[in-house]
């Protein structure tokens, strides 16, 4: 029953030049992510709403009494936009590290997929794409929560998913590259405490970087998340300016660099 259709299939594929980053391969890998997402979207949605709510309640209401305004905006507006960036950071770097490690080492999902006509670059790119799309979409949640706390809607906010996507692409790829070199899953603790935690604080998320001591401030400026925060605030407060092209350029460069690093690092480990 197999001989005839198989032979026909062969002819067709001989003619078809299979290239790099085929949409069909990317879609195939992402369809798996979508199926998995169908199982846990409720939990994801719940935490993406509740977390910024708690931040806003704690920081917004708690500190608002002492600091009504910060950098020219209300503290609620300041924090709700800052939390967008932290939400994007954590919802991309963590899946980058943990999902990659689990699927590669424990579930061997990647082994299964690489036996199909999918190459390493497609596999990693699709995984990162999916995570960054999700990060971009869920990055809007803190703004929606912010509206209930008095944040003013602004047309520029429509750019937030895009900014979240580009930032998420970079941090997810960063996570994948870390997963590629991690010996055990516990190694991620080093990265979480020594890299991600300072990164999420020294980025102008809850307080401006500008008031920090010189050395720390410099660290803030090279932090991609700082550029994400600046871009998001300027978009959300209707203050986009030429300097934002620089912020966007940093985020895009970071994303591209980390993407190539993720492909090369994990590629070396996936193929013997």
């Amino acid at each position: 029953m197999n001989a005839v259709p198989a032979a026909a299939g062969r002819l067709e594929s001989k003619e078809r030049r299979i290239g790099r980053l085929e949409p069909a391969a990317l879609a195939g890998v992402m369809s798996r992510d979508v199926s998995i997402f169908g199982r846990y979207w409720k939990a994801t949605t719940f935490s993406s709403i509740v977390q910024p709510t708690i931040y806003l309640l704690a920081f917004g209401l708690g500190i608002r009494a002492f600091i009504p305004q910060i950098a020219g905006v209300s503290y609620v507006a300041y924090v709700s936009t800052g939390v967008v960036a932290t939400a994007v950071l954590f919802s991309s770097a963590f899946p980058g590290m943990f999902n990659t490690f689990v699927r590669w080492q424990f579930q061997r999902t990647y082994d299964a997929m690489l036996a199909a006509p999918v190459d390493v670059e497609e596999l990693i790119t699709a995984e990162v794409l999916w995570v960054s799309i999700r990060a971009g979409v869920y990055g809007v949640a803190p703004l929606i929560v912010g509206f209930f706390f008095g944040l003013e809607p602004e047309w520029g906010m429509l750019l937030v998913p895009l900014i979240g996507f580009v930032t998420g692409f970079g941090f997810c790829s960063f996570g994948v590259a870390i997963a590629a070199v991690a010996k055990t899953i516990d190694n991620f603790n080093y990265v979480t405490s020594a890299v991600l935690t300072p990164m999420f604080l020294v980025a102008g998320t809850f307080f401006p970087v500008e008031k920090l001591p010189e050395g720390v401030r410099q660290v803030g400026y090279i932090n991609p998340l700082y550029h994400c925060v600046q871009l998001i605030r300027n978009a959300c407060f209707g203050e986009l300016q030429p300097a934002d092209i620089g912020h966007a350029a940093v985020l895009i460069a970071f994303a591209l660099l980390m993407w190539r690093l993720a492909v090369s690092q994990l590629g070396r480990r996936l193929i013997d």
Binding site: A6, I36, Q107, A112, A115, A116, I271, D272
Partner: protein, 312 residues
């Protein structure tokens, strides 16, 4: 005995070209040479058994055929495509059933098969039918919407096989397909594999179960220390390496040691076989042999004679 290297060097691969061809393939992992100058030719349409003890390099060979391991030396061709450059094309036309269960435990059977139908580029309009057909092959239709975590070991293995067949491949790689399965599930898988062959699908199966190779394979290649040391039909291998009959002598350890020594002195090929000493090629003993039980030689005798290794 087939000599794959010479066959390949005759060039001219007409319409009956090999499904898989490896020439002088070497693969090392640090100090360990896993595959050591492997020459292998798998003709189209046969069930080919790669038989060898654990650590012989079978799994590494399988991984090289999907370009998940890259050879350090040598040439590999699969379905007429040269690896690793054209490996994606060849993977499009073959199915792989891995030794280790790498199913997505969080997904249902149907979801897994749908994902792989996309990965294997089954056209959208044919996906549902392909998934249904695969569920049928695996006898999992009633479990189509069950999460993998809730399936039994045998069902999971059948799903693994179905996943590798979703796109009607013309070549299937099976890496130790029945390792760790109970006898009933093993029988089911055997008939499934036999069915594939009768449909004209080329099957390359690695195994360390003699019985599996003997039952299913048209041709068996015995692999040891990273290379093929003998190849032929199971009957040919038995005749060439174990003769027609085997004499088994039972007794207490001291007696067995004595028989072994005698066999050594007379130059009779012999091996320990559980509680007995087995003397191969018993038909040529000319009545000099000690008292024992005569039985037909089997592939296990040939395997042990070839590799010097006992098997489970």
């Amino acid at each position: 005995m087939v000599q794959p290297a010479t066959e390949a060097s005759e060039g001219e691969r007409g319409e009956r070209s090999a499904a898989i061809s490896l020439r002088g393939v070497r693969k090392r992992f640090g100090e360990i040479v896993a595959v050591d100058g492997l020459d292998l030719e798998v003709p189209s349409g046969v069930c080919f058994g790669l038989l060898g003890p654990n650590g012989a390099g079978k799994s590494t060979t399988m991984r090289m055929l999907t370009a998940q391991a890259l050879a350090d030396e040598g040439e590999i061709e699969v379905l007429g495509y040269t690896l690793p450059g054209q490996s994606k094309q060849s993977r499009l036309e073959m199915g792989v059933v891995p030794q280790l269960d790498n199913l997505d435990v969080e997904l249902t059977c149907r979801q897994i098969l749908t994902v792989f139908s996309r990965l294997y580029r089954v056209p959208r309009s044919e996906r549902a039918a392909a998934v249904d057909r695969a569920l049928h092959i695996a006898n999992l239709r009633p479990r189509a919407d069950t999460i993998v975590r809730e399936l039994s070991g045998g069902m999971r293995r059948r799903l693994l096989v179905a996943r590798g067949l979703i796109h009607r491949p013309r070549l299937v790689l099976l890496d130790e397909p029945t390792v760790g399965l109970d006898p009933q599930v093993r029988q089911e898988l055997w008939s499934l594999i036999d069915g594939l062959r009768s449909e004209g699908v080329t099957v390359l199966m690695s195994t360390h179960y003699i019985e599996e190779a003997e039952r299913l394979a048209d041709t068996v290649a015995v692999m040891s220390a990273g290379r093929i040391i003998a190849q032929g039909t199971p009957a040919e291998l038995v005749a060439d390496h174990a003769g027609r009959e085997v004499l088994e002598i039972y007794g207490p350890p001291a007696r067995l040691a004595e028989v072994s020594e005698l066999a050594g002195a007379r130059g009779w090929p012999s091996r320990r076989s559980g509680p007995a000493v087995a003397i191969l090629r018993a038909e040529s003993l000319n009545g000099e042999a000690p008292e024992g039980v005569l039985r037909p030689a089997n592939l296990e005798d040939a395997f042990v004679a070839l590799t010097g290794e006992e098997i489970e």
